[in-house]
């Protein structure tokens, strides 16, 4: 492992694979030889259909599952070591929290697990509860929380030790539209603060808004990866962004383009949406799978 890549990457996986044994003879491939890197201070979107291996990837990265093959590193440290998780926050796919604790107690509990205590911890708990908008419910037990409220408490708990890296598995699932926008804005704010974020989501509009790079998983394999802007740029078309030309000069150039056989379609940014790209890629993948 060369030093350059291990210090500038927040997450790095090499041939990371996970097979689940579901019965004596059958096994399910959760993840198949995944190689990918999330750089520091990047927002990375992990996309894919249900059961494609997104949550499995996150659990492997956290050392919750033992890989069948390959390895994962966090900030250059093998995820087998507990130290690799010192500066990581995790929002699980489902609210795996204690029903008998109140919202406040939950955040405090996870803060203590990160070694926090005293005034600093109490201030942080209040700050986070306010941030996720649960002040009115902070003393209620989680057993009585709604889906969206649980999601919010999950987010607060993930951020309790102010981690450098956040692994968010569907942070907006079950959250109302306003909460959803708040979470999007929060992710952008966290990026400005220099955090790294790995985001799994099915809300493609939102992913397009916040992610620098995306990867699409299918059947446990990475089938497309790259810079969001680059991926969404249509290479068969070309766009000039011009400043300071007069109306007359523009129409002159327009005529010239026509003379050379070009055709001006429209002005503005010629991008497809991530949604279209996603659907297209996944359909291709399905075709490939059927072809095997």
């Amino acid at each position: 492992m060369d030093m350059v890549s291990s210090t500038s990457s927040a997450i790095e996986t090499r041939n990371l694979s996970k097979h689940f044994r579901v019965s004596l003879r059958r096994k399910v491939i959760g993840l198949d030889k995944l190689n990918f890197v999330v750089r520091e201070n990047e927002v990375y979107g992990l996309l894919g259909p249900n059961g494609s291996g997104k949550s499995t990837t996150i659990k492997l990265i956290l050392g919750l599952y033992q890989p069948t093959e390959g390895e994962a590193r966090l900030f250059g440290m093998n995820v087998e070591s507990v130290s690799s998780r010192v500066s990581v926050g995790f929002l699980p796919e489902n609210p795996y929290f204690y029903k008998y604790l109140s919202g406040e107690e939950t955040v405090r509990f996870f803060g203590r697990l990160c070694g926090m205590r005293g005034r600093a911890l109490e201030d942080k708990v209040s700050e986070l509860i306010a941030m996720v908008g649960l002040e009115r419910h902070r003393h209620r037990r989680l057993g009585g929380y709604s889906k969206g409220m649980l999601q919010r408490i999950g987010l607060a708990q993930a951020m309790v030790q102010d981690p450098k890296l956040l692994l968010l598995d569907e942070p907006t699932a079950g959250v109302d539209p306003i909460g959803s926008i708040e979470i999007r804005d929060m992710i952008l704010k966290l990026k400005k603060m220099g955090k790294t974020i790995l985001l799994c989501s099915h809300l493609l509009d939102q992913v397009q808004d916040v992610c620098d790079r995306i990867g699409i998983l299918q059947y446990g394999k990475m089938i497309l990866e790259g810079d969001v802007k680059e991926l969404l740029t249509r290479k068969d078309q070309y766009q000039y962004v011009i400043e300071g030309l007069s109306q007359e000069a523009r129409s002159q150039i327009g005529r010239q383009i026509g003379d050379k056989g070009g055709r001006i379609l429209r002005e503005g940014s010629p991008q497809t949406t991530l949604e279209q790209l996603f659907l297209q890629t996944v359909r291709q993948g399905d075709n490939r799978q059927e072809g095997i």
Partner: protein, 293 residues
């Protein structure tokens, strides 16, 4: 490198998990119900007396020590059986281990939480026990002062001294201490079973069987030493060497019979308890550490 601060085992994290485990058990119904039953049974001993012609103090001691041991064991076995399976089934262990928490901290945290709660439970029951004893003492003293029920040739002073000696018995403390350490072993055994079995009912049954066998070990050992029949020898051997000798922790019978047990023996038994618990937890750690959660 920025994230390379070394990270070691921490008692603060262990205690955080332990305290949370206590909250978990205390906020469950079964604990209240068992505790309530235990307390009722203790208090019942006063009323059973009306029907008993046995020596009152002796009866209260015998009955209460047995009740404390019984309800303590019940709470331990049921409480411990749930600790790990619930965490794994509800996957509440995921966000915990996603924080920088060692699995050993988690395991020992669960164990510590359970034995701390047991300590509090036993303290509560002991306080009630003591209250019952002192209540009986005042009654007996009043009787003695009034000269009621005095045996032939016994002065009032002597009778008072006898009552006090019988009630204020430091040996009782030893008995309860040993009950506690016996439950600590049972708790460790329960945790060990839960590291590889996922069903609460199975854990309860297994731990109960070991608990019962643990009281037969002394007898079994004597049998094993003397018995010549080959067929039962291996089975007894397993019983003798792997099952903890819980009977060694039971000094209540001796005490009620008026025999005294030396501190030396008490400490020796506690040392055995520590050793056995340590070994069991070590094995549990190795299983749990490599377990796929």
């Amino acid at each position: 490198m920025s994230g390379s601060q070394r990270h070691f085992f921490s008692f603060y994290r262990l205690w955080t998990i332990a305290a949370n485990t206590m909250t978990e058990i205390v906020r469950q119904k079964f604990f209240y119900i068992l505790l309530l039953f235990g307390v009722i049974v203790l208090i019942l001993s006063l009323f059973l007396l009306e029907f008993s012609h046995l020596d009152r103090v002796k009866f209260i001691k015998d009955f209460n020590l047995a009740a404390i041991a019984f309800f303590g064991a019940l709470i331990t076995i049921v409480g411990t059986a749930e600790l790990l399976p619930l965490e794994l089934e509800n996957r509440t262990i995921y966000p915990i281990l996603a924080k920088p928490v060692f699995r050993l901290e988690f395991l020992l945290g669960k164990f510590t939480g359970m034995i701390s709660l047991l300590l509090l439970t036993l303290l509560l029951m002991s306080v009630i026990f003591a209250a019952l004893l002192f209540y009986t003492e005042t009654q007996l003293l009043a009787d003695a002062m009034a000269g009621r029920g005095l045996a032939e040739g016994v002065t009032v002073d002597e009778a008072v001294r006898q009552v006090k000696a019988q009630v204020r018995d430091a040996q009782l403390f030893k008995a309860i201490l040993l009950i506690y350490f016996k439950l600590v072993i049972v708790c460790a055994v329960g945790i060990l079973i839960a590291t590889f079995a996922t069903s609460v009912v199975f854990n309860v049954i297994c731990t109960s069987i070991i608990y019962i066998c643990g009281h037969l070990v002394t007898t079994a050992r004597a049998e094993w030493m003397s018995n010549q029949t080959v067929s039962s020898k291996p089975m007894l051997g397993i019983l003798v060497f792997f099952i903890p000798d819980l009977d060694a922790f039971n000094i209540a019978d001796a005490l009620v019979l008026g025999q005294s047990v030396s501190w030396e023996l008490v400490f020796q038994t506690i040392r055995y308890g520590f050793f056995y618990t340590g070994v069991i937890l070590l094995v549990a750690h190795f299983i749990f550490d490599s377990k796929e959660i």
